[in-house]
């Protein structure tokens, strides 16, 4: 399973449309492993361009913060699973996704203790 996480520093970025950095990882939920593929720096924040990237990269699951309904529906229509409104460190999100225990609106451990990322 190829997962894309919108990131801001060590955390999941609060907004899908304003993100300039994403992390792509391969998740094996059977072996419960996550392989970090790469981090991509985007030339500018753009929800449309990010959607194109997600489809081009054959991403099956997107983990993000707030996302507009238009993009949520579009990606869902393209069979991309969206886990949105997630708050916390992306490493925690990866740990949860490999255990198949991540859901939308999750506030992950470390969201409160993580040092400021801005």
């Amino acid at each position: 399973m190829k997962v894309l996480i919108t990131i801001s520093g060590k955390n999941i970025a609060p907004r899908f449309d304003l993100v300039t950095e994403v992390l792509v990882a391969n998740i094996d939920q059977e072996k419960k492993t996550a392989t970090r593929v790469r981090t991509i720096l985007l030339p500018r924040p753009s929800a449309e361009e990010l959607c194109s990237l997600i489809l081009k990269e054959n991403i099956s699951t997107v983990i993000c913060g707030g996302i507009e309904d238009t993009y949520y529906k579009y990606l869902s229509w393209k069979n991309v699973k969206i886990i949105d409104s997630v708050i916390g460190p992306f490493t925690e999100a990866l740990r949860h996704i490999q255990n198949n225990s991540l859901a939308s609106w999750a506030i992950l451990t470390g969201a409160a203790t993580e040092t400021e990322s801005l």
């Binding site: 907004r15 899908f16 996302i67 309904d69 708050i87 409160a112 400021e116 801005l118």
Partner: protein, 482 residues
């Protein structure tokens, strides 16, 4: 106590000393409020903030503020930190992604919270939804929110005058109408025109969730109420506090929840799932359904007492078939909208296309009409929509199916789009006939009108209706119009 007596200005200190009191205090604010400490971590938030974002204050306690806000300015410039460091109130306009995944314009006021020593101990962020400001002109000159609702038929204009009256009261409102007639738009427009417009408008589809989930969705649950309930959930009624809750597809509400809803209507309070403490809410309830509630009551699928409780005010939205004057107006409006969106230079519909569309019954009403136009605009490569560009559902319609024909006027002119809509159910003692209920009633009325116009001559009536004589005879028999 003795500590606070020594202070010259003890109130803020007292307020901050008691978390519970402070939460209640900020709940009374008309804006969303988020309180952060000096490291921008959440101390608390108020109810309006909860309804903006969907996060409860308990769940976000200690979380990084900008991650909860999901605002347009959190990722660049770090304005919150600058406010803390600079000790000056900042007002900035931006937007947030709300819990419904909608981007809403917000005016943020970020104020430092200082200790008596002058040291800044945190920051208070006030969020004001300024999307309403856009409706200000409408508020002054007309009914806000109606810009999304098109139409100018006589019936609509008469009814449209009732909307501000319905908006002024807090009485429970039941909106009836077929699918695609604009029940949601009307409900939102009424909320926007009401005194509750500064508070949330929360929509819940009662037909979309199974009973157990719906109860939790509506009334919330407490932590541990059931497996997976890891934290308190406020529920839509609590999120709509001060505003309006719109329960759509109320006819699909399971019977056990109907009892609970009845209690909320009567007492304005309820128990969350698994909770032992009653929650009191101040919410206006608007409901809608495409079902015949009276029939559901007859078949014991809807509680009669709830039916009467919901039916205090009632609006019956007309189907597209009853809005013949609006047919061409809507066609042109949607054509213009989609052509502009796709950057196409399509000037209008051919006469044949109009004829084809006019004979289509539009069971999905305005929504279906909109979708058909969107499809046609996408397919069309020329300057005019031809029958070939229409979807198969329209093309496969047998000719002669009656439908109110568009007016002959030259409404291709896009200049004046007026607003519509909704027809209330007339009082029972009204002298004129009630609005037709569904296609059969409409068809029956059309047959009677045609027969009246042709003085009972069936051949001519059939011609007028575009049917064969045998079709008319069959329908007269079917509707027992002899």
């Amino acid at each position: 106590m003795s500590k606070s007596q020594k202070k010259i200005l003890p109130l803020p200190k007292d307020v901050f000393l008691s978390q519970l009191d402070f939460s209640s205090f900020i709940d009374s604010f008309p804006q969303g409020v988020l309180l952060l400490d000096s490291r921008r971590k959440v101390i608390t938030a108020n109810r309006i903030f909860e309804s903006f974002t969907g996060y409860t204050r308990e769940a976000i306690l200690g979380t990084q503020g900008e991650h909860v806000l999901r605002s347009s300015f959190t990722d660049d410039g770090n304005i919150i930190q600058k406010t803390i460091d600079g000790d000056e109130t900042v007002t900035i306009e931006g937007n947030i992604i709300n819990r419904n995944r909608k981007k809403i314009p917000i005016r943020f006021t970020i104020s430092p919270v200082s200790l008596e020593s002058g040291q800044v101990s945190g920051v208070a962020i006030f969020l004001e939804d300024i999307s309403l400001l856009k409706d200000l002109d409408e508020k002054i000159h007309g009914f806000p929110g109606k810009d999304k609702i098109l139409g100018h038929s006589q019936k609509m204009q008469e009814i449209f005058e009732l909307l501000p009256i319905v908006a002024r009261t807090d009485a429970t409102l039941l909106i009836l109408g077929e699918t695609g007639t604009g029940k949601d738009l009307i409900a939102e427009a009424i909320h926007k025109a009401s005194a509750r417009s500064r508070h949330p408008f929360v929509k819940v589809n009662c037909g979309a969730l199974p009973e157990s989930l719906l109860e939790s969705e509506l009334f919330g649950h407490v932590r541990g109420a059931f497996t997976g309930a890891n934290y308190d959930k406020p529920g839509m009624f609590r999120l709509a506090h001060g505003g309006t809750i719109f329960l759509t597809e109320i006819g699909d509400l399971p019977l056990p929840l109907q009892v609970k809803l009845l209690t909320v209507l009567d007492d304005k309070e309820f128990f969350p799932v698994g909770g032992s403490k009653k929650i009191k809410v101040d919410v206006r309830i608007i409901t809608a359904t495409h079902r015949n509630l009276r029939e559901l009551v007859k078949h014991n699928r809807f509680r009669e007492d709830l039916y009467y409780r919901l039916n205090v005010l009632r609006l019956q939205l007309p189907s597209l078939r009853e809005r013949e004057d609006d047919f061409r107006l809507l066609l042109d409006h949607f054509l213009r909208e989609f052509a502009a969106g796709l950057n196409k230079n399509i000037t209008g519909f051919s006469a044949e296309t109009i004829e084809k569309l006019a004979s289509y019954p539009f069971p999905g009403n305005v929504r279906e009409l909109r979708n058909i136009v969107e499809y046609a605009v996408n397919i069309c490569q020329g300057g005019s929509i031809e029958p070939d560009h229409l979807p198969d559902t329209v093309m496969s319609m047998t000719p002669g199916t009656p439908h109110p024909r568009p007016p002959e006027s030259n409404m291709t002119e896009h200049g004046n789009i007026e607003r519509t809509e909704i027809a209330p159910v007339p009082p029972r003692d009204a002298h004129h006939s009630p609005p037709p209920n569904g296609w059969e009633e409409m068809e029956k009325r059309m047959i009677l009108e045609a027969l009246a116009r042709t003085r009972g001559r069936r051949n001519e009536a059939a011609k007028l209706l575009g049917w064969g004589r045998s079709t008319l005879w069959r329908k007269i028999k079917r509707y027992d119009l002899n």
